[in-house]
């Protein structure tokens, strides 16, 4: 079984600084530290577990992004993926989910993948669109928010569970080839192994410029950023840590919590 896992390189969200800009808008200072989207680790782990339980399975891991994005393939290769593919965009600008899905579909078409796995969304865009869109472009059955994958009695199917509101689960049977986007918590992603990382380093990745694939569609344009509104008082306590703790205790007392 050939498995394709889609991963994204994202900036470290905690290090992002939001600044006020002109006209009530906001601007972002994005640090130069990038890492693999945390939600994608679950997709890589799920693929590695399938490979371990199935003779002859292989895992390709694919990313769309500028030159620096090739780095994001190292971790999945270290976790057990066999081959990395970098669809290289000409600029740093994120082409958006529709284009990313079209690029991935363009690459995956006619390469015989039985299963395509994605994370549920990316930490930066929070869109969760690439999976369903790639499935549509490839005309594949798909499911999102998948929280369990089991082999089915019929080897051309998988038994899966989707997580719906309140933690309930829909049980489905899906025929392969198919695309799944995985919920965080479906597994506990392993750490990459050093020997695999070294091997991945030697092996390198396949790089394909996105200009050679179906052109990107720029349908959705980001016009600006805004600081999120305050939903509550958001009173900031100041002073030393001890002063803040005293003030907090006083507030708890005042409100009769203690």
């Amino acid at each position: 079984m050939k498995i394709l896992v889609c991963v994204k390189q994202v900036p470290d969200v905690e290090r992002i600084v939001v600044r006020d800009a002109a006209d009530g808008m906001a601007a972002l200072d994005i640090s130069n530290e990038f890492r693999m989207n945390r939600f994608d680790e679950f997709a890589v782990e799920a693929a590695v577990r399938i490979k371990e339980s199935m003779a002859g399975a292989s895992i390709h891991v694919i990313t769309v992004g500028p030159g620096r994005a090739a780095d994001v393939l190292k971790r999945p290769l270290g976790m057990g993926a066999d081959q990395g593919i970098h669809l290289k965009t000409p600029t740093d600008a994120d082409p958006g989910p529709a284009a990313v899905a079209a690029f991935i579909a363009g690459y995956a078409r006619s390469r015989g993948y039985r299963l395509i796995l994605c994370g549920s969304m990316s930490e930066d865009g929070l869109n969760g669109q690439v999976g369903p869109m790639a499935a549509a472009y490839l005309d594949l059955p798909y499911a999102t928010q998948v929280i369990a994958i089991q082999p089915a009695p019929d080897p051309s199917e998988l038994s899966i569970e989707r997580e719906i509101e309140g933690g309930a689960r829909e049980m489905l049977a899906i025929r392969l080839p198919a695309l799944l986007t995985l919920q965080p918590g479906i597994n506990r992603p392993r750490y990459p192994s050093l020997s695999r990382l070294l091997r991945a380093h030697r092996q390198g990745v396949e790089t394909i410029p996105t200009e050679t694939l179906r052109p990107a569609e720029a349908w959705v344009e980001r016009l600006g950023l805004m600081a999120p509104p305050r939903m509550r008082a958001s009173q900031v306590l100041t002073g030393s840590a001890r002063e803040k703790a005293d003030r907090l205790a006083a507030i708890l007392k005042e409100k009769a919590f203690i």
Partner: protein, 331 residues
């Protein structure tokens, strides 16, 4: 065009919110609102929506429909949307809408924005607002395609239904074939967790990824013991790691809580978490990142390292308690 969530035979409450969203759109861009509902038995629900909101409703009765499934749902909706050619398709940002909306958009070549929580006018263009970067900022997006597919965040847009004298909207009945060729619905299993420990607690000490290690959960437990009837809860990340049980998870895929006091320790404030604690009466957030989105949801914001700070809270409470005791002794 509002796509009412598929809930066999029943009108889903999210329908009201989607109509409210449609009305907001209407206030900015003139146009007619129509609701479309797809399912196995939707005629009664369609009439109810037409009555309630005084809008035209298309009821697509799908023979063989037993339960929502992405594949046939996308096929039926794509056909209907291509026939009607609406400027906007509004879906709920739920496990259903978030699943089908991007696929429908890809099939019809429409721009798609998921998780929209606001509409504004920006540089003369209609802009849809949604969270980015874990909720640290909102992005304003504009779309250039003839049809735009939007999934609307639940719990944001509200509406009062049209008062009774309003004439009901017309209902159009259609039929479609339900062809789930590659996917099969097997059944639904309810969540097996009992979250009553946290839903009943008047005070919640909630921990996030910032707690750093399973051993540090003890800090939260100690603080909770200091506060009357407090329970410890956590974010999905903490529960997924096994640091807390799933019966302690707060958020859309866990429990919704409404305690008198919610102390968020090392929680970033992702919308999936926040939706489960919006009902809290008083919120204290402690986080090392001064721009963590949880601070927008807090009454009291403390920029500190929780590992160092939680013990300080206990000490401060202790000092306060002692102070009170002394005062009483003196008396």
């Amino acid at each position: 065009m509002v796509i009412a969530p598929c809930a066999n035979g029943r009108v889903h409450p999210e329908t009201d919110e989607l109509v409210a969203f449609g009305r907001r759109l209407q206030a900015l861009r003139a146009g007619a609102i129509g609701v479309c509902i797809v399912g196995g038995d939707v005629n009664v629900a369609a009439r109810e929506i037409a009555q309630r909101h005084s809008v035209p409703v298309t009821a697509i009765q799908a023979a063989g429909f037993s339960h929502y499934l992405s594949e046939p749902y996308v096929a039926v909706l794509t056909e209907e949307i291509e026939a009607v050619k609406p400027a906007f398709v509004c879906a709920p940002h739920t496990s259903q809408g978030w699943e089908w909306a991007p696929a429908v958009a890809a099939r019809i070549g429409a721009g798609c924005i998921c998780g929209v929580d606001g509409i504004t006018e920006c540089q003369g263009r209609l802009c849809f607002q949604k969270e980015l970067y874990g909720g640290k900022v909102k992005g304003l997006f504009s779309v250039s395609t003839t049809t735009t597919v939007i999934s609307v965040m639940p719990g944001i847009f509200t509406i009062k239904p049209a008062p009774p004298p309003c004439p009901p909207g017309p209902v159009t009945y259609k039929e479609a074939a339900w062809r789930p060729a590659q996917t099969r619905y097997v059944g639904t299993r309810q969540a097996g967790v009992d979250a009553s420990d946290i839903t009943a607690a008047p005070i919640i000490v909630a921990v996030g990824n910032g707690i750093g290690s399973p051993e540090n959960i003890a800090l939260a437990n100690r603080l909770a013991r200091r506060l009357p009837k407090a329970a410890v809860a956590g974010t999905r990340v903490v529960c997924d790691r096994g640091w807390l049980g799933y019966d302690r998870q707060v958020g859309i895929s866990g429990a919704s809580v409404a305690p008198a006091l919610y102390i968020a320790c090392g929680i970033s404030g992702a919308s999936q978490h926040v939706m489960g604690m919006r009902g809290a009466r008083f919120v204290i957030a402690i986080n090392t990142d001064p721009r963590a989105p949880i601070f927008n949801e807090a009454d009291i914001c403390i920029v500190e390292d929780i590992i160092r700070f939680i013990p300080l809270i206990e000490e401060a409470c202790g000092r306060l308690a002692e102070g009170t005791k002394e005062a009483i002794d003196v008396r």
